[in-house]
Symmetry: D2
Subunit: 338 residues, 4 copies
């Protein structure tokens, strides 16, 4: 009854089938195979606009390379203080950008807003002595399991455009956000001012590939060489491409996310008074005393204490393939705690 992370999830059968189908010899190395050739059109279809797509082996890689396309070595990225790029990527942004900085922006429930961005930007003079912001990175769904609405993103997008900042979206759980909103993928990306997206697959039934989706064509120019140089252009590129195609061409990405979200909602309903954040995706953050956490663990549930939200916080993540019985058990156990 593991609720530690969606990284524990299995691989969806259709994705596994796609990998198996790509295993036979192919007279086409790097990205010259037929799977890789279909990436751009397939994602362009999904987003209703021409996009460029780059397969990479991790979310950290997607964010790092993607931001390197947006920000010069001497620039900064405005992001939430709890953002994965700040908290859990070991300095990948300065590594990929050659030294760019992260500027923390406040915001309840993991969300940036025009107000908090304005306040953060105002703390920095526009002169040559200070690192100047060149991009915003927002996370959809957020690190707190909440989801930006299209309007919220559009407001941030407009603010950014007025200041000539690129807008990057860390979409490790993009599918969960779209599943929650019931909107078109375009509504929370390019139509709202997003220039580049880390489109997460691995947590959502994938195996070993994530996608960088570039809406702003100017930002795509340097990515091929940056990706190669970073050791992320695999010599058998078909395996990454096949996974990404299987994820989106069959609609699995949205199905899986819906299932995970539904599980999280069921857990949330069992403990409404304990919620630290609205449950809008597949993560549930609960107020639980040390004794309560111990009791749950004694029952066989695994999950993380979540110190970013204080000493009595715990995080439960529901996977696309989470066992329904485990969700039921957890809901019951929480209900019993009262």
């Amino acid at each position: 009854m593991d609720f530690t992370s969606d990284n524990s999830a299995g691989v969806h059968p259709a994705i596994l089938d796609a990998v198996v189908a790509a295993a036979r010899p192919q007279p086409a190395g790097y990205d010259s195979d037929s799977w890789s050739a279909r990436l751009d059109p397939a994602f362009s279809g999904l987003f209703g606009a021409p996009v460029r797509v780059f397969a990479v082996p991790s979310g950290t890689a997607a964010n790092g390379l993607g931001l390197a396309a947006c920000v010069p070595s001497f620039g900064a990225v405005l992001c939430h203080g709890d953002a994965h790029v700040e908290v859990d990527e070991a300095g990948a942004v300065p590594f990929f950008t050659g030294g760019a900085s992260l500027m923390h922006v406040a915001g309840a429930h993991g969300k940036l807003s025009v107000d908090t961005l304005t306040a953060a930007a105002a703390r920095r003079r526009g002169d040559v002595h200070q690192v100047q912001p060149a991009a915003i990175s927002l996370t959809q769904a957020t690190e707190s399991g909440t989801v930006y609405t299209p309007d919220e993103i559009a407001a941030i997008g407009s603010w950014a455009k007025a200041r000539n900042l690129a807008v990057h979206m860390d979409g490790a759980r993009f599918a969960n956000a779209v599943a929650h909103l019931g909107c078109a993928p375009a509504d929370v990306t390019w139509k709202a001012g997003v220039d580049i997206l880390s489109f997460g697959c691995i947590k959502n039934g994938g195996m070993s590939a994530e996608a960088i989706v570039v809406f702003n064509p100017a930002l795509a120019a340097t990515l091929p060489v940056r990706r190669k140089r970073a050791g992320m252009m695999p010599s058998k590129g078909r395996f990454a491409a096949a996974q990404l195609l299987a994820m989106i061409e069959g609609g699995i990405w949205l199905e899986n996310a819906r299932d995970a979200n539904a599980g999280a909602r069921r857990i949330a309903l069992a403990a409404p008074a304990r919620l630290l954040h609205p449950v809008e995706a597949n993560e549930v953050f609960l107020r639980l005393t040390a004794a309560e956490r111990e009791a749950l663990r004694a029952l066989g549930f695994t999950f993380y204490d979540w110190e970013l939200d204080g000493p009595e916080a715990a995080r439960f993540v529901v996977r696309w393939d989470q066992d329904a019985a485990a969700i039921d058990s957890l809901s019951s156990a929480l209900a019993k705690l009262g």
Copy 2:
């Protein structure tokens, strides 16, 4: 009848099976799974010495990260002018090291020697105005399809140790070299002074993982954080580890390499007078006029012109799963050219 590259090869069934077996959910993200836990002991067994192993998604990544563990940002790597790190990795060495340089060393048939290393080192004064070498990178098997003997490597290793240089081996075709030599893997690595090895799998029946094998424990210290920071610590680490284990635990790595080498030898026997380099691994470099190359292509053979070896050079690579009939056809066609 594709002889362009071993990147065209298929995936060995045992490796595919290992990936499929890892597809079920696992309550263990990043490298905390049971496959990843077996990497160090399994490779330690293969090499007969305690080693640290880091799975990475490409040979470029293995070389770049591995050299970053050896060379400071202000140092240089001595390597052959035709080395893959120089010619085909888009500047990955300066990227991963934060600015280290490559110093070209001459050498017939792709091989460095103590003589050519000494000559290269002598061109540089030892003062602060010049970038100082901190490592040697040699390729085994070489870019010219030749293989260093254990004695040749040991001589280079001794030369390096006397100058406090780390020894890195690009082993994209390490298996082919060991298969040719019939020696123990230890004989051409740590016993001969090699500190760190890029152990190639993808060209040799693998799918999407290579291994950095660290013999010198001091060099392993920074690799975990460097790998994470570079986006190469996958959240479902079990898929890479499972591939690497399947490759070595069943002896596939050596079997596949033997098959590929045998195919190359058969082709070489068909055109002995045309050989540009001794054929010791799975690559055959031939002198062929433009008309001859055109004639071969008209028969359906694909291969690369190889300008590094001059205007009349062509490269044929034999894969582990190369069709025997294709090898026969090519041998016949070459024999007919005379």
Copy 3:
């Protein structure tokens, strides 16, 4: 009546004389001249311990290069949120280190303490997913014009050593701190655990050279090549060395700092109720309404609004060569404001 910055100061005559004396031809380029040769012994004498000294052209250079000797590209520096390295050096730390991060530490009046360092460090897990601190940078005198006592530094030094962190001191106003304390330079540096110091001269009567003073010999190893590579090893090194020697050999550094500190104290006495920070060096931070600031400017005083300390803050810096009449006028004007 300029109180904007000690960067407005003139050059002390003895330093100018030293530069003039170095102007004749010298058969000795780079650092091979007789002035440069005296740097290490002269500073070793000043600090009562063997030190290595590297002349650099700015405080930003001293901090950036110095921290590059302490922190790997994947590490972090713990520093006050108002520190010059964070606020006013345009990202020099990631530039010189190849990507290291700054971690903000809180602290009243610009000072770090063991408590706030402990709190900051506790926010970061020790695992590979997070950037790990490798050094502390503290500023003496601080950005708020306060001065660490030897005991305060020693407490931080001990805390750092227990965690294997290097201790860097930004001493742009080191002389002002020592003048305030009346201690030996050793008492607030190596005896208190400081490994490396940016020894400021330019604000204190110098012209164009600062000194990196290295107490921990292990940290000096890479500085010669880092300095050369960064374009900071001048081909006529004697001019920088001559300035540094003139500054310390005649005791000018301490005299000038005493004069500047005395001026600041006089201003502070004129407006004790307005002080935002204790006045311990040559900077005075005052609470002044917009109208009051306007009134002062109308009288001919120039100074900066200081938003780091809130909307009603202003900073007045007293130079070593500040006109006594200007100090009197400012004191009177402040007294009149009541």
Copy 4:
């Protein structure tokens, strides 16, 4: 009788006077002083075109920062194999650019040509696997003491523009080249396709400042922040600016260079059969046996063996303030050697 380097030269009195004049207090830090404000117009006058000028503390800094404005971290610079940026700047180009490479180009007497550039470029495919050139760096006067004519530079400039490459000129001895040619500075810079120039002063009677002169306005955009971030925006910027202004406003740069060139020509005339390169600037490269070099040194002459030109090569550099008697003595001594 020192002929080792023009770095041994003294400082011209007019430049020293300018430094002394700037020593009084100035209510203007960084580059806000009146000297700094005159840099752009003064150099624009000298070059007959609007230029941007950035003072830096060394030639290595000028080249490194200047090339960082031209080349992305993933690009390459085409330069002569003997170029100072390659041989004597400790990897400053990868440092300032964040990892760019140098690609060696051949050329007799230190000069690049369209032919050798074409050959070098042809060795590199245009694909993503190889580092692509983004700029040319040529040295005027060259490392071999020769001088490009305006036509030679214009040919290289056209070749570069056709390939979208920036043209950088290392002008550590630019004055010597212009003095030799008797042309306008514009003729060998922007009129011939040069985008950015390291304008050398220190070897030519300066003290501690060189100038980056930017002809192509697009390349100036990032230089202010790059310079600040690299610790090269001094807080008392007036001292560097005053030197540069004194150098060009009085015509000293050209006078000094003429004197140095004349001295070199006299030495060359004494040993015409020994010349390894045409003597067109202030450097004389001679073929001298070990015994002959020893004999000269026994007479009190100092100079460098010059291994880049072979085992029997020696370099003699004449300074702007070289003693006429020393030149006479050397000429006589060489004549006697026969």
